[in-house]
């Protein structure tokens, strides 16, 4: 054992350093987020509760092709269709078992019509399981609730991947040259 090491040992140098650090941290502001009181806004593109999209006329976009149900990894989407007038497909029931959903967003990717989306809403606890069995009506009202106005289209584009630009590259891609330092470093 060298002298320096000996001195460090008997004077508890490393422990004193640790104590200094904890004491300093005591004086720095806490990083706690006081959720439910202070809510953190979900980042744009958050994958939350589902919604069925409506078109401009307020009608359901879904045509009942069943791709989302086929693609869904947790197989939680159930679609029941019948043949209506003019031999059109009519979506009778469109149901999502939310408790089985894994929020991968694959249903959005699968949908060729842009009829389903995930909203930023993530607080939906309840006392019974029935509340999580989303029927067509509930899903459509979700759209009104969370995607009012133009928000729906813009938000929805985020999920509807891949787009053509992903295959070709596009203008204004994120680059290092544009990186600006946000915080001042000590």
């Amino acid at each position: 054992m060298t002298t320096g090491k000996f001195i460090r040992t008997i004077f508890f140098v490393e422990i004193l350093k640790g104590l200094t650090l904890t004491f300093k941290s005591m004086l720095t502001p806490a990083v706690t987020r006081r959720y439910p009181k202070v809510k953190r806004p979900a980042k744009p593109g958050f994958r939350g509760l589902h919604a069925l999209a409506k078109n401009e006329e307020g009608k359901m976009k879904c045509v009942g092709c069943g791709l989302c149900g086929a693609y869904c990894p947790s197989q939680c989407i159930h679609i029941y269709t019948t043949e209506g007038e003019d031999h059109n497909k009519v979506v009778d029931r469109y149901e999502i078992e939310v408790l089985r959903c894994v929020y991968c967003g694959f249903c959005v990717e699968a949908c060729p019509f842009g009829a389903i989306s995930l909203s930023e809403h993530y607080e939906y606890s309840d006392y019974s399981r029935d509340a999580f069995y989303m029927t067509k009506e509930k899903l459509l009202s979700n759209w009104d609730k969370y995607f009012a106005g133009k928000k729906g289209e813009a938000y929805y584009r985020k999920f509807w991947r891949p787009q053509s630009e992903d295959f070709t590259g596009h203008e204004g891609q994120a680059k290092f040259e544009k990186v600006k330092k946000l915080k001042v470093k000590s």
């Binding site: 104590l19 904890t22 941290s25 706690t32």
Partner: protein, 354 residues
């Protein structure tokens, strides 16, 4: 105040009445001390959570009351109304009595702690010995609780605690022998007064070795990090009180924090000068001697709190020792150091006297 009381008692001639008044006074003292202690213990938990919370860059309790000030009360109420679960195979009488032993023994220790000159429930001349005796008794509570729970984790926790408390009892006793030699007394009030006469005003400077041994042993005696092996939550779930819930758990909890209070008080009394400040400060600032008594009680409390803060601070910083390492430190490091301290102190005393 004490003088007035004494003179009042002196006027009473009937011996029975005198005895009665004495008892009433002691009861009042006990009531005050217990009330202060329990309130203190309740808020010590709050304070600990706050301090450690901020050290860990979080907030600690904050929702109940302003800044979470009512949190300890809420916790207490919750623990009182919680279902009292007793394991089916537990040794019931022992299971009932273990937390009581633990709590009572720590609470009894309070009786000899001098908060101020003669404000002490029992001003006995073997105060320090009494403290050791009581803190050893507390170990029974832990061992019995570990045994009676009939749970393997609790059992291991109880065993660990037994050996830990017994080993560190020796180191702690020896560490205070230096103080006894210097002050020439076992009475805590006398120890404080002797310190006041001493040039540095506090014994922790000449007794630095003893102080170090005492601090480490105090941590181990109260089962606090880095020596909280009896209740090491990552190894033994919750150690000896794994099976306890509700009010019985609360008794253990209160007992632990009262134990911390006792240890901090011993430290303040024996090493930090109790309610006094060093003589040279008194000389430099003469107005200090005119201050009312209550200020000196606060001085004592500040010293106690400072030591409690150190408890929390260390808890927020250090990992936990292993069981065999704890024993090694106790027997191979602390006891020799304490013995060395005694030898040095004794020699110094003889040399200075001679």
């Amino acid at each position: 105040m004490n003088e007035i009381l004494q003179s009042f008692i002196g006027q009473v001639s009937n011996p029975w009445l005198k005895l009665g008044i004495d008892i009433v006074i002691i009861l009042i003292k006990i009531a005050i001390v217990i009330a202060i202690a329990l309130l203190h213990v309740a808020y010590a938990t709050y304070w600990e959570r706050k301090v450690i919370g901020h050290m860990q860059v979080r907030l600690g309790p904050i929702e109940v009351g302003p800044h979470g000030l009512l949190q300890p009360i809420a916790d207490g109420v919750k623990l009182f109304f919680k279902e009292d679960i007793i394991p089916a195979d537990a040794d019931k009488p022992l299971f009932y009595i273990a937390p009581v032993i633990f709590f009572i023994s720590t609470l009894t220790s309070l009786s000899v702690i001098p908060f101020f000159n003669h404000f002490v429930i029992a001003d006995i001349n073997i105060g320090l010995l009494f403290l050791f005796a009581m803190s050893s008794l507390g170990a029974y509570g832990i061992v019995i609780s570990g045994w009676s729970s009939n749970s393997k984790y609790a059992f291991l926790g109880g065993l660990r605690s037994a050996s830990q408390v017994i080993s560190y009892e020796i180191a702690m006793g020896l560490s205070l022998v230096g103080v006894m030699i210097m002050s020439g007394s076992l009475n805590l009030v006398d120890i404080v007064k002797a310190q006041q006469q001493y040039p540095t005003g506090m014994y922790f400077i000449p007794q630095i070795l003893g102080f170090f041994v005492f601090v480490v042993a105090a941590f181990a005696e109260t089962n606090r990090l880095p020596f909280d092996l009896p209740e090491a939550e990552s190894e033994l779930v919750a150690g000896y009180f794994t099976e306890y819930s509700g009010f019985r758990f609360a008794l253990f909890f209160l007992g632990e924090y009262t134990g911390m209070l006792i240890m901090s008080s011993i430290c303040a009394v024996c090493f930090l000068g109790g309610w006094t400040v060093p003589q040279f400060i008194m000389n430099a600032l003469p107005f200090l001697s005119k201050l009312p008594n209550i200020v000196w009680v606060l001085v004592f409390l500040v010293k106690v709190y400072a030591f409690m803060f150190f408890y929390y601070w260390v808890r927020a910083t250090l990992p936990r020792y292993r069981y065999d390492q704890l024993m090694a430190i106790g027997w191979k490091l602390l006891i020799p150091l304490a013995l060395l301290n005694i030898v040095i102190t004794g020699l110094a005393k003889i040399l200075i006297k001679g």
